[in-house]
């Protein structure tokens, strides 16, 4: 019961954080909002693993965390320097 509620709440939080992605006045606001969406999607994957009992989705959560970190760091380096690989 609590895991279904958690999945619905996390999906609504992703939809709510996308408001800041669309409306953010600066590029950094959009990066911070996308980082929050990535964090919520990691929690969503773990909640789905707990709900269905499939332990494979824990690996999905770990890969989503790695992808979100690389996306945040590379976008920040692109904003600051103008390029990623120097």
């Amino acid at each position: 019961m609590i895991t279904e509620t958690g999945i619905v709440v996390s999906a609504l939080l992703v939809a709510a954080a996308s408001y800041r992605v669309i409306d953010g006045p600066r590029v950094e606001d959009r990066v911070v909002a996308l980082d929050t969406i990535s964090t919520n999607v990691v929690a969503l994957a773990v909640l789905y693993a707990v709900h269905t009992g499939k332990a494979f989705f824990i690996n999905v959560a770990l890969m989503l965390a790695i992808t979100g970190f690389i996306a945040t760091v590379s976008t920040s380096m692109y904003i600051r320097d103008g390029d990623i690989i120097r």
Partner: protein
Amino acid sequence: MNEILLVPGLIFLATGTLGIIRLKGTLNRMHASSKASTLGVGFVILAGATEFYPDGAWLTAFLALVFMFVTAPTGAHMVARAREESS
């Protein structure tokens, strides 16, 4: 045990997302994102680790927890430095 850990996790995730929407300024929004959301997802991953405790997925969940707690301040630091030096 899972319910005890899932409820504060969801509360902290909701607090972080509410801070993203309601606060003014990039650094204030980053303050809500990098602390409240990270603590919330830490509670949720810990609930997943206690769910699969005797199996091997427990170690993967614990690795994801350590990875989130290491990389969330690093990403927030990169975004803050981009905010301060690009304007």
